[in-house]
Amino acid sequence: MTQLALVIDLNVCVGCHACVTSCKEWNTSGWAGPLTDQRPYDADPTGVFFNRVQTYEAGVFPNTETYHFPKSCLHCEDPPCVPVCPTGASYKREDNGVVLVDYDKCIGCKYCSWACPYGVREFDEQQKVMKKCTLCIDRITDMSLPESERKPACVLACPTRARIYGDIHDPDSDVSVAIREQGGYPLQPEWGTKPSNHYLPRRKTRIQIHEDELVRVDNPLKKEELPTLPEAGETLDDVAW
């Protein structure tokens, strides 16, 4: 079984919103569109987005860390939003695990949005149906595209490569390796929804380097600057092996 998903690396996301705009652009003009807006150029603009980037701050000034946190449908393996739908408009694809809404069946009762704990389904006030991230289903299944472009628009747009896309059920895929080796975690795991999208935490790579590891004590070129060596004959460094 395939379960397509995104892995989002919070260590490198810079919060540029490139994924947000490319998502909106692709999906408003594609199969899932339009993603309508109300009052886009007025006070209090609002509209449908599949993907939003929020910002959080941990710590107390000046010792703070900023987290840019992209949030979209996590394509849960056990999605609570699907069984509650009275019409069958919400469904999970058997072949690749993507959770979708059939806009032609949706009656706009909003019940699915109540049943999703992540708040990633958005009601379209103009088309009166429920919308959500499709993982760019029309791109990733389009065999006329070259393999390198068969990816969600957000993944292709991300300038820092903070978004990795692949099959989390294939243990050798990029996403599985990243989750396994970089400490990937799901959101709100308490509910047992088994989100497919994972996040990679902040990681700091530091090595301990001591002063004497950088400076060769008996460097002949720096003989004057260095304390004179005790007369102990040759050191290990002087031996030609």
């Binding site: 919070l10 947000v20 009052r39 209090d44 603009p45 609002t46 509209g47 449908v48 987005f49 939003r52 980037v53 929020q54 910002t55 959080y56 701050e57 941990a58 710590g59 107390v60 860390e65 900023t66 987290y67 949030k71 609570p80 069984p83 509650v84 739908c85 009275p86 019409t87 069958g88 408009a89 069946k105 949706c106 009656i107 706009g108 009762c109 909003k110 019940y111 949005s113 109540w114 049943a115 999703c116 704990p117 992540y118 708040g119 389904r121 958005e122 009601f123 006030e125 088309q127 009166k128 149906v129 975690y185 799901p186 959101l187 709100q188 795991p189 308490e190 509910w191 935490p201 902040r202």
Partner: protein, 325 residues
């Protein structure tokens, strides 16, 4: 959650309608057992009519909640998994049976079909009424489970939710039955009034228990788990947009604490205290109008109660919309 008036009217109106039908059928059963005087067929027919009108009004209200009411029939398809779908089936089933029940009484098709052990004459109305009672209880269950099955919304995720819908529906329905029989000048006022008071008091018990429960619990998840950053000082700085979104409109009630407190006291008075006192007064004064007043006040109280029910619910998605810098 943001309280939607379409759903408030749907749940309160069908609750009264279902309760009224149960009251009529209970009256018929008591009359059958010679515990109450038998009523004219007109009483049952008009009563069923009123119940049907209430259920129909609830159905109409529910359509205002939908983005695409013309596709509503599709909502009947997923009854295997969705309580909402089950409600969509149970509501017309109950309405159909109540309609049949009223029709059978209206046309006096109440000749006994057969007699059980020489004492219990069984006619059409008894059988249809029995099936109707099942459908009505099923409908109560479905309506309540729409809310009680959402495990993320802890304020609703409890058998108390089912008990509240049941007792408040039956209480208000019997209250209306008391008002209706007072209006028709039948002798059933005190019978219905007594049961209305009993159901209302049970409702008081479960509703207050719910309020207490909801004032105690904490959500299972917090911001740390929602974002996955397990830092003791974690604060939101941006929501990803400057204007509003579906997420900030649908899941927040936006009402002040003071107003909600006021609504809570108001519904506790109007649903429970005042109607019970009025019914007791009506009994003492043998008044014909007080039961009607009791029902009217209780119904207005129920609207406030349902409003409060929605504002009580804290959705976990709200964790992502706590502040903007």
């Amino acid at each position: 959650m943001h309280p939607a008036f379409s759903v408030i009217f749907l749940t309160t109106l069908i609750g009264v309608g279902q309760g009224l039908f149960l009251a009529l059928y209970t009256g018929q059963l008591y009359a059958l057992a010679n515990l109450l005087p038998a009523q004219s067929s007109n009483f049952y027919a008009v009563g069923s009519m009123v119940s049907l009108v209430l259920l129909f009004a609830g159905l109409i209200a529910s359509f205002f909640h939908l983005g695409h009411p013309e596709r509503a029939w599709r909502a009947a398809t997923q009854w295997r998994t969705s309580w909402l779908s089950r409600e969509v089936l149970a509501l017309p089933a109950a309405m159909g049976l109540i309609f049949l029940y009223g029709t059978v009484h209206f046309f006096d098709l109440t000749k006994p079909l057969f007699v059980i052990s020489g004492t219990l004459p069984v006619d059409f109305s008894l059988i249809i009424g029995g099936l109707g009672t099942l459908a009505v209880f099923g409908l109560f269950l479905c309506t309540a489970m729409i809310y009680a099955s959402l495990r993320f919304i802890k304020a609703w995720y409890s058998p108390l939710t089912v008990a509240n819908f049941l007792f408040l529906g039956i209480g208000s329905g019997f209250m209306l039955a008391a008002a209706f029989s007072a209006y028709q000048g039948t002798s059933l006022v005190s019978f219905y009034g007594t049961w209305a008071v009993i159901a209302t008091l049970f409702g008081l018990l479960t509703r207050v228990a719910t309020l207490y429960r909801n004032s105690q619990f904490r959500c299972k998840v917090d911001l740390k788990s929602a974002v996955g950053v397990h830092h003791s000082q974690l604060e939101q700085k941006a929501q990803g947009f400057m204007g509003g979104s579906f997420n900030t409109r649908e899941f927040f009630h936006g009402r002040s604490h003071g107003l909600l407190n006021l609504i809570r006291y108001a519904f506790l008075l109007m649903v429970f205290a005042v109607p019970v006192i009025l019914i007791l007064l009506a009994y003492a004064l043998e008044s014909e109008t007080l039961p009607l007043l009791a029902f009217g006040i209780q119904y207005l109280g129920l609207i406030l109660e349902r409003y409060h029910f929605f504002t009580e619910a804290q959705h976990p998605q709200n964790l992502y919309y706590q502040s903007m810098a």
